[in-house]
Amino acid sequence: MGATSNAEQPNPPPTSRNRRQFLADAVLAVGAVLGLGGLAFRFAQYLYPVILPEKLVEVSAGKVAEIPEGGVRYVNLPEGPVMLENAGTEVRAFSAICTHLGCIVQWQKDRKEFVCPCHGGVYDINGKVTYGPPPRPLDPLEARIRSGEVFVMMKVRKEEPV
């Protein structure tokens, strides 16, 4: 008797139930994606460092007299490593960072070349690439002389609000 009455009960149309189910699933899925996505985005924001803007500043790099005549002097400044070249009437400055993968180049006095100890890149006295994988010349820096002292314009990141 019970079985018969169960069989007689009208079933809801399958399509409408599926549609309702689908909508419920879709809302849940969108909610989950938005919620978890938002959370993941906040996590990523937390992990991504604050990059301070760059500023050009004038930095003292020592006395002109300290650079050998016709030669090069390496100065490791807090703002970055620099090569100072005594070119007779003027002083030229280059960043000492190899443009390939960031090692510090070394001045080879006898060969009159800058050589990178990491991947063997070679630059001439003008900073131009003469051998190896560096993609561009050494970055030139503006150098000024005042009262026998060399000042180099260098990019630094100032501790200021971004």
Binding site: L47, Y48, P49, I51, N76, P81, H100, L101, G102, C103, I104, Q106, C116, P117, C118, H119, G120, G132, P133, P134, P135, R157
Partner: protein, 344 residues
């Protein structure tokens, strides 16, 4: 059932028989050969690395001003510190060797083919994780090699297309190598990478279980033998031999500490650990774009090798192109490694 067993079973309702089932997994008889027992070795070494790694964290300080001094302290002052560090260092090198040997075995027996492509993919992922472990690991020592390897390695990432710069900032915790970099590398080394590796190892083993061990084309025998005790015994023997070898190696060649990291001075003739020699030599030979692009292609090719093999088979059936291409890649890698080792 004894009263104790019943009591325990009521509280932990697990059928012991179910637990024993995986131990009886039937393995093809070709696995009785030693060369087919290499898969478990990296897993054992990973366990050893986890234990010794946890021990090292008791004394290591992940901050530039103290990192080098703390490693020196571990190496020269802490009781048995040299031994723990030596085992950790040696096991990491051996792990790379054993993962490589396992991959070479899978490569040349073509065990990666349909339907096991995904598992090769996971395996390649584990190989990359192992290399990242090694890279972040020796960056923590904060000697000259550490510092310049970190500088070069992260600068390589900067040259990746589109995502390079953001990824560089994220990894370094700033535009340059700075105190955040060491903290981040430490977090990767002791937190993120172990978690990812454990997950991937579990997935890798589950996939092997689901598919069953690949049968050899050259060995049509249908017989099997159980994982426990026969195969397990072989794995244990390998593990013990490795342990004996490692302990002896550390006794005769205890770890040392190089010169402290000096950001303004790249030492002459610096080069990374031997497992990065092929990439290092490649970068010396090519322009930056080709160097980075070629490395990306090589790694991508490694991950998708099963599909490359299938495509080659389709283009030229029964020509065994996979042997030639696979061997060529393998040989080039070995030649670059030796070249850097000898001429570097």
């Amino acid at each position: 059932m004894s009263r104790l067993t019943t009591w325990l079973h009521e509280r932990v309702p697990v059928d012991p028989e179910e637990l024993r089932k995986p131990l009886r997994e039937p393995l093809p008889v070709h696995l009785k050969q030693w060369v087919f027992c290499l898969g478990g070795t990296p897993a054992m070494l990973f366990g050893l690395l986890a234990i010794t790694g946890i021990l090292l964290t008791f004394y290591y300080v992940p901050y530039p001003a103290q990192a080098f001094a703390s490693v020196s302290n571990i190496t020269y002052r802490v009781r048995m510190g040299w031994f723990i560090r030596g085992i950790h260092q040696g096991a990491s090198q051996l792990m790379i060797v054993t993962v490589l040997l396992h991959m070479i075995r899978v490569l040349f027996t073509r065990a990666y083919r349909k339907p096991r492509e995904f598992n090769w993919f996971f395996g390649a992922g584990l190989f990359m994780l192992t290399l990242t472990f090694a890279f972040t690991g020796y960056s923590l020592v904060y000697d000259q090699l550490s510092y310049w390897a970190t500088t070069i390695g992260t600068n390589m990432i900067a040259d990746l297309p589109v995502l390079g710069k953001p990824l560089l900032y994220f990894l370094r915790g700033g535009p340059d190598v700075n105190p955040n970099t060491l903290t981040r590398f430490y977090d990767f080394h002791v937190g993120v990478l172990p978690l990812l590796t454990t997950l991937l190892v579990v997935v890798h083993i589950i996939m092997v279980r689901l598919h069953g061990v690949a049968r050899l084309e050259a060995d049509p025998r249908e017989e099997t033998y159980p994982f426990f005790p026969d195969h397990m015994l072989k794995e244990v023997i390998i593990g013990l031999l490795i342990l004996i070898g490692l302990v002896n190696y550390v006794m005769f060649f205890p770890p040392i500490v190089g010169a402290v990291a000096t950001p303004g001075n790249t030492p002459g003739h610096i080069r990374p650990e031997w497992y990065f020699f092929p990439t290092y030599r490649w970068l010396k030979l090519t322009s930056l774009t080709i160097g980075i692009g070629g490395s990306i292609c090589y790694v991508t090719g490694l991950f998708f090798w099963p599909f490359i093999d299938a495509a080659m088979e389709k283009i030229a059936p029964n020509r065994n192109l996979w042997v030639y291409v696979g061997s060529a890649c393998f040989l080039v890698t070995i030649v670059f490694l030796l070249w850097e080792a000898i001429a570097g």
